[in-house]
Symmetry: C2
Subunit: 446 residues, 2 copies
C-alpha cells in the first residue's frame, strides 16, 4: 500500500486510530505507512496526569487538565471499548466510577497488546503544516523537544487527534487584575487540598465547576460559590456549596454578582471551558468551532470538507468518549482504505447542515444523548467495529444524569451492568465521598 | 530602499529597533520597509503586566513574568536611554528604583513621540519561519490571534526580539507531584498577598528568588526558605528568610534538603530561571543557548553566524537592559544599511570564541559588569547612538551590588545621579519596605 498517514496526538483518539489499523493488519490485510507524533512523554492524552501547570518541561502549552483525585464523572459502562472490556482487562468486576489512574491503566491495557508504541514518536510536537495542492500532500514540521531540533515529514493523509480540552477559555472580569488571592483556570487546578478551609469562587456551570466544587467540598473547603452565566447546575448541593448569578466584577478580594449580592473570596477558579486550538494548522485547514456536538465543516464529524485527506478525531463535545473515538477511527480507516465512498462537496455540506440543524433543536440532556447516540450509530453502520447496543448505553447516560440530580455526593457509588459483556460492576469498598486516596493501589485494596 | 525588515516582538528590544530606524528617518535618510509583529495586545514586552498565568487570552504561552508590586531591581540610572532621559520624560527628578508602571510609562514615553505604532501589528504571533536559500529571504507565517487567521510575509532581514525570560525552566524533584499545596514557577507568581501567613519554599538563588523572597516578607509571609544549587545569595536576611542547601525531594508537604534538614511548606515557587525558546524557528536558524552574557553563534551578540540576515536582539543575560538594547538596535540598523562591514564566517567565529572565552574567565559580579560594559562599548564604537559614560554606569552597578549586600531591605531607598544628564534622583516619599502600593498615582503623590 503506497500511502502515508500522519497522526498527531496519542491520546484516546490517536490510539484508537492506531488500534483500528492494527485490527486490520491482524486480519492479514495490508495497511499504509503510519507515523504518530505526541508532544507529551507518554500516551494517554488527557489521562496522562502531570503535576505541572502552564507550560510543560520544554515550554510547550501544557496539555493536561486533569487533577489529583479525579474520578470518572460518567459510568465506565458508557465509555467501554467494545473490543476490550473492563472485565477482560482487570480479570474481575470493578466499580462503575474508577479514578483516573485506573482508567489510564485500562486505556493502556488495550494498546499495549499491540505494537502501536513503535509507531509513536514522543516529546515531539507538530509545529506547522503546509498543504501542497498539486500533490495533495501535507508537509509537516515537527519539533523534537528533548533535542531542540526540527524535522519534516510528508503525508498523504493527516489525522488531527489533539483534543480540545486543553486551551483555557479565560474571560476577563473587571477587577480580576487586582484580586489578591490565587486566580486560575480549571486547566491549572491540580488538587483541592490547597483550598481546605478557604472560601472559593468557581465561574461557569458545567462539568468542571460541578466536579471541582464537589472535590473542594470533599477536601474541606469552607465554602464554594458557583457563578453561572446561562443556567445553574441545579443539583441538591450540600450547605457549603451555593450557586449565584453571573459575576460582574471584583473590588479587592470581594466579588459582586448580577443579583446584587457580593462575597469575599480567597481564590477564584475559572471553570469557563476550553477553546479548540490548532496553532500548527494554516487557515485553510483549521477547524474553527465552539464546543458542540456537531462542529461545522466536518463530514461525518471527521472529514474536513475543504480538504478531504485531512481528518479530525474527537472534536465533538463528549457524552460518549472512548467507544465514540473508536467508531470514528474505524470509519476513518475504512475511508482511507477506500472502502467508504463519500458524496461530493455540496452533498457533504448538506449532510453536515442537517446534523447541525438537528443539534440546534436539542434542548435537554436526554436530547443531547440521543443526538450523539444517533451520530455513533451512523458511523458504525459503515465499519466492522464490534457492534454493541447503543440504545442501552444511551439509557445508562440518562440514568446517570438523574443520579447526579438526585445526589451529587453519592452518584459515584452507583453500579451498572456492562453493555459489552453483561458483567455487573462491583460496589467500591468505600463510599466516594469518604475516599481521599485515588491511587491504583488503594482502589484494588481488598 | 528596496529591502524589507521583519521584527518579531515589540518589547524594549523590538521598540529600540523601531526607534533606531526612526532616528535615521528623522535625519532625512531613507529607511527600508519595516513591519513589527507582537503577540500581546500592547507593546512593552515583559513590562506589559498581565494578571493571567499559563496561557494568554488566545491560548498562547503567556509572555509576562512580572508581578504586582514589582519595582526595578537595579537603579534606573543604569538602564536610562541616552537619547531620552528620565527627567525629560517626567519633567522632574524621581527616585532611583521606580515601580513597574512608572518604568512602563517611561519606555512608552519615548516611542509614543514617534509613529512607531503604525508599524506594529498586535495580537499577532510569529508561527513559523522558512528560509529560502536561493533568494535569501524569510517566509514568515503569522497567526492573527483575535481573528484566528494565518497569513504570510516575506522579509530580507528578520529581527528576533522575543525576549528570553518567559519560558520557565522547571526541574522535577521527587514527590513534587504529590505536594498538596500550590506549586508554581516564578513566571506565574503574580503577587505576594496570597502567601501572607504562610511558609513558602523558593528553589533557586538568583534575582527571582531574591526579589520574590523579599516581596513575600514585605507582604507578611510567615517564613521564606530559599534553597540553592550552587551558591546561596548571601544577603543579610531578616529572621523570616533563610537559605538552605538544595532540595532533594518531598514527602507530602515536607521538603528535604541535602544538608539533612527538612521543613513543612504551604507552597513552592520555582525560581529556577528561564529557557531561550524559539518555537517558530527551524533548526538551522534557531539560537540554542543557556542564559549567559555571550551566547554562542551570535556575532557581536546580534548577527546569527549561519545566516547573517537573521539578527537577534536582547538575547544576553542582563545587567544592562534598555540602553544595551539601543546599542544593539543601532548597530543592527547600521549593519542592515550597509554601513558596518563584517568579516568572513571563520573570522566571526574566532571573534565570538574570544568573547566567550573572556566570559568564561569572569568570576565575580564586578567581572560580569565589566564584561558587559566592554561589550556595549564595542557596539557603540560602530554607531551614532548618543555616547554616554559607560564606565560611570559600570561603577553604579558595582555600588548597587554592594548596596544589596549591605541591606536587601533598604537598597531600593538609595538615590543616584544620572549619567546622561547629571540630574540627581529624589528620595521616594516612603521607604520601599513600607510602600505597599506600587501604582503610578501613588508613586507621584506628594
Ligand atoms: C478535566 C477533564 C476530565 C475528564 N474526565 C473524563 C471522564 O471522566 N470520562 C471520560 O470519558 N472523559 C473525560 N474527559 C474527556 C477527555 O477529553 C476524553 O476522555 C479523552 O481524553 C479525549 O481524547 P483525545 O485523544 O481526543 O484528546 P486528548 O486526550 O486531549 O489527547 C490529545 C493528545 O494530543 C497531543 N497533542 C496536542 N497537540 C499536539 C501537537 N501539536 N503535536 C503533538 N501532539 C499534540 C496531546 O499531548 C494529547 O496527548 C475529561 C476531560 C477533562 C478536560
Ligand atoms: C520578573 C522580571 C523582572 C525584571 N525586572 C527588570 C528590571 O527591574 N529592570 C530591568 O532593566 N530589567 C528587568 N527585567 C529584564 C527584562 O527582560 C528587560 O527589561 C526587557 O523587558 C527585555 O526586553 P526584550 O524586548 O528583549 O524582551 P521582552 O521584554 O521579553 O519582549 C519580547 C516581546 O516579544 C513578544 N513575542 C514573543 N514571542 C513572540 C512571537 N512568536 N511573535 C510575536 N511576538 C512575540 C512578547 O510578547 C514580548 O512583547 C526583568 C525581567 C523579568 C523576567
Ligand atoms: N471526570 C471528571 O470528573 C471531569 C471533571 C471536570 C471536567 N470534565 C470534562 O471536561 C470537559 C470540559 O468541561 P468544562 O466544564 O470545563 O467545559 P464546558 O462543558 O465547555 O463548560 C463551560 C462552562 O463555562 C461557562 N462559560 C463560558 N464562558 C463564560 C463566560 N464568559 N462567563 C461565564 N461563564 C462562561 C459556560 O456557560 P454557558 O452555559 O453560559 O455557556 C459553561 O458553563 C467535559 O468533557 C467534562 O466531562 C470531567
Ligand atoms: N525587577 C525585579 O525585581 C526582578 C525580579 C525578578 C527577576 N528579575 C529579572 O529576571 C531575570 C531572570 O532572573 P531569574 O532569577 O529568574 O533567573 P536566573 O538569573 O537565570 O537564575 C536562575 C536560578 O535558578 C537556579 N537553577 C536553575 N536550575 C536549577 C535546578 N535544576 N535546581 C536548582 N536551582 C536551579 C540557578 O542556580 P545556579 O546558580 O546553580 O545555576 C539560578 O540560581 C533577570 O534579568 C532578573 O534581573 C527582576
Amino acid at each position: 500500500m503506497s500511502f502515508k498517514v500522519g497522526i498527531i496526538g496519542a491520546g484516546p483518539s490517536g490510539l484508537a486510530m492506531l488500534r483500528a489499523f492494527e485490527s486490520e493488519q491482524k486480519k492479514g490485510n495490508e495497511i499504509p505507512e503510519i507515523k504518530c507524533f505526541e508532544k507529551q512523554d507518554n500516551w494517554g492524552g488527557m489521562w496522562n496526569y502531570t503535576w505541572r501547570t502552564g507550560v510543560g518541561k520544554y515550554g510547550e502549552p501544557l496539555h493536561g487538565s486533569m487533577y489529583r483525585y479525579l474520578w470518572s464523572n460518567g459510568p465506565k459502562e458508557c465509555l467501554e471499548f467494545s473490543d476490550y472490556t473492563f472485565s477482560e482487562h482487570f480479570g474481575k468486576p470493578i466499580s462503575s466510577y474508577p479514578p483516573r489512574e485506573v482508567l489510564f491503566d485500562y486505556i493502556e491495557g488495550r494498546i499495549k497488546q499491540s505494537n502501536a508504541r513503535k509507531y509513536i514518536k514522543f516529546n515531539t510536537v507538530a509545529r506547522w503544516v503546509d498543504y501542497d495542492e498539486e500533490s495533495k500532500t501535507f508537509r509537516v514540521i515537527f519539533d523534537d523537544l528533548a533535542n531542540n531540533r526540527t524535522f519534516e515529514e510528508v503525508f498523504d493523509y493527516l489525522i488531527v487527534a489533539t483534543g480540545h480540552f486543553s486551551t483555557p477559555n479565560m474571560p476577563y472580569f473587571k477587577g480580576i487584575d487586582k484580586f489578591p488571592g490565587a486566580v486560575m483556570h480549571a486547566h491549572d487546578f491540580r488538587g483541592a487540598d490547597q483550598f481546605s478551609g478557604k472560601d472559593i469562587l468557581l465561574v461557569g456551570s458545567s462539568y468542571s465547576a460541578e466536579d471541582i466544587g464537589v472535590q473542594c467540598y470533599k477536601h474541606g473547603v469552607n465554602s464554594v460559590t458557583i457563578s453561572y452565566r446561562s443556567n445553574p447546575i441545579g443539583c441538591k448541593w450540600p450547605e457549603e456549596i451555593k450557586e449565584v448569578a453571573l459575576l460582574t466584577h471584583f473590588e479587592g478580594d470581594t466579588a459582586y454578582f448580577k443579583d446584587g449580592s457580593s462575597k469575599r473570596f480567597d481564590a477564584v477558579v475559572f471553570c469557563t471551558g476550553y477553546q479548540h486550538k490548532f496553532p500548527f494548522l494554516p487557515d485553510s485547514l483549521r477547524l474553527k468551532t465552539k464546543n458542540c456536538l456537531y462542529p461545522d465543516k466536518l463530514y461525518k464529524g471527521i472529514i474536513f470538507n475543504e480538504a478531504t485527506n485531512l481528518l479530525y478525531l474527537g472534536m465533538q463535545d463528549q457524552y460518549y468518549t472512548f467507544n465514540m473515538f473508536d467508531a470514528q477511527a474505524w470509519f476513518a480507516r475504512d475511508y482511507m482504505l477506500g472502502r467508504v465512498a463519500i458524496p461530493d462537496k455540496l452533498e457533504r455540506e448538506k449532510d453536515i447542515k442537517e446534523w447541525m440543524d438537528n443539534e440546534a433543536r436539542t434542548v435537554s440532556g436526554d436530547d443531547h444523548i440521543d443526538f450523539q447516540t444517533a451520530y455513533i450509530k451512523d458511523l458504525m453502520n459503515n465499519t466492522d467495529y464490534p457492534d454493541f447496543n447503543l440504545d442501552k448505553v444511551a439509557d445508562l447516560f440518562k440514568s446517570w444524569l438523574k443520579d447526579k440530580e438526585d445526589n451529587i455526593l453519592t452518584y459515584r457509588d452507583k453500579v451498572y451492568q456492562s453493555v459489552m459483556d453483561d458483567v455487573h460492576a462491583e460496589k467500591h469498598h468505600t463510599p466516594w465521598i469518604k475516599e481521599l486516596d485515588d491511587s491504583y493501589e488503594r482502589f484494588f485494596e481488598e
